[in-house]
Amino acid sequence: MSADSEKLSKLSGFDRTVISILGLLAILGLGAVLNAPLAASAAAAALYYLSIQIYGRLPRPRDLPDPSLISDDTTAGLFDQRLIADSFSEAVWIINSREQIIYANKAAAALFGPTPFGRRLATVMRDPAITQLVKTVLQGSSTEPTDFHMTGAVERHFRVTGTAIHVEPKPEPVLAVTRAAPAPIEAKLKRFTMLVFYDVTDFVKFARTQGDFLANASHELKTPVASLLGYIETLRGHAKDDAGARERFLLIMQEQAQRMERLISDLLSLRQIEQSEHLAPSAAADMCAAVNFALDTVTPLARARGVAVTLEAPSVVQVRGHQDQLVQLCLNVIDNAVKMSPKGGKVMLELSTAAQWRAQDIMGAETPPHQSSRQIVSPAAAAQGYAVLKISDEGPGFAPNHIPRLGERFYRVAGDRSSREKGTGLGLAIVKHLVLRHRGGLMVTSTSAPNYTFGADILESHAAASSSATFDSTESEKRDTPIQTGTCFTIVIPLHRENDGGLN
């Protein structure tokens, strides 16, 4: 490029591009018999030209700096078009006229995984709108950008633009050199589409969470505020001179106000996590320190409730994560486990590492009776392995009908009056979103007492009413033997590895 630049300086920008493309073709694709490298290099050059036209951040070809500057090795490297394309934060794909992917920049590889070069776009990206966009652009019409969202555990939204790139096959010098390449294919490769994926998740998320936050906050605060108002009215009215009642009411009012405070802080942190959810953390964090810190915080509560908490963990487990958020994550699950435990119960924490994680390992086809399990979040594939944290308690467990809804915000298990501390119903939702952000996984396995379910209640009342041997003895024996109830949450977080580029 640098050698050509002086000669080119007198030509117009477009001519220069064409010539530089041809030069590149000649340099990169010279002896190549196959068409793929040729096409890729042509496209890369075209991308370079177009990107300069679009972004304008870099000098246009006619404003090339002093040749002496470019001859410097590092500066010349800057003008390598692949390097430039790779430095875009937007994902870029180039599609040839046979709708095959022939080029992807670094951002695209990070977003969609290893690029399946040569595969047809329709088999890689199933979205009909994008397939249509590419078809239209290849036919030579211009189109409006289309919206594309990646479904999955973490949703991402993109605005996709399609731009036509025409590379004219200049006759003389190139044909002489590349005579070996089959001519008809060469002719077909004239038209390309460049797809640029602009990440608009932030905007979409912001608009949505803003609305959700207002709706949730106003809905959830309505009840405690109404009750506060009721007590205030009573205090101003007929309870005015009753010291005993006043004291009692003030206590209730304080509890309500504290609940509102917890609710607001939970909602705020949930919103904060949600907004950064699509950006996976890339730094290293120590899972072990996080668990220990959370454990220290929970210990006073556990002691007060007579719950023993034990921890089994190696000294250091480096994961890819955000230290404070990991602490929050551990704090929420451990706190939850302690609150679920009966007096004298045990909460067991186990931290270990695993090379790989498969849902099959925990969710076998055969589960013991009264036990149900669910993968609330499935972890992203991570070649480097996972840290696995298991938190088991001896609480009453969740009945099977509650399992599918765990992690949903404001979902509180109905009839759970055992815990004095009324939760906000957001604890597990926060855990779920933290795990999602860390591209980890969250599993729950729970064993609950059989009479906890609706059906069994009816059976029992029937049995009591008939008070005879309508049910055979084995049935009732089964019901009488105590079942060790409890819940086990399993959290897996991808480990951190040196030179880890970070996933998205």
Binding site: R119, R120, T123, R126, A359, P404, R405
Partner: protein, 232 residues
Amino acid sequence: MQQQAEHIVHGYDEDLNTLTSALSEMGGQVESMIDDAVRAIKKRDSALAEDVIARDAIVNELQEKIDADALRMLALRHPMAADLRRVIGAMRAANDLERIGDLAEGIARRAMNINKSEKVELSRGVARMGKLVKVQLKSALDALLNDNADQAVDVWLQDQDVDALYASLFRELLTYMMEDHRNIQACTGLLFVAKNLERVGDHATNIAEIVYFSVHGRSLVTEALARSESDG
């Protein structure tokens, strides 16, 4: 079904790749139909529902194309072993996808009905189920297009989540109906939608079984049964 096929006869490869392309296109179409149908309920958007209903024709056309292509390949190329399973798998998957398209159309028709009544917040559970089913369908299609048997097993196992959610939703909607009989009309509509979504989940499971068979040449159901018997 995705590795670029490599056979001595170039046309054979072309045929296989075209089959995969059509299957992928069909999958994408069906995915977006389910997505839009659920959104039509969530956002009370009847125009979007009509759009979904119109798109069912595209899916039917694609199925006919896949069937014709597969038949032609069977007749002309006599595929063997993995190729044979692949071609048969494509036909079977196309059949499931066509059914999913019909179910999406059904949901869209219900949506237009539901949108005539007042209540909005009742549809939240259905939207959640829609999201879960969408993820299932996406994973099944990803497994199909990448020949990923492990992912297929995951999809197959997670179908119980969809079933459990359906049961829980059923109970929830029943409660609304008992609470206020004016809810009955909307809730019945939502029940049908939930049932349709649950069936979409079943078809995703079918596709997962097809993938497993296409990759290993063995039946996933039989193997899972054998495994659970030997375990317990």
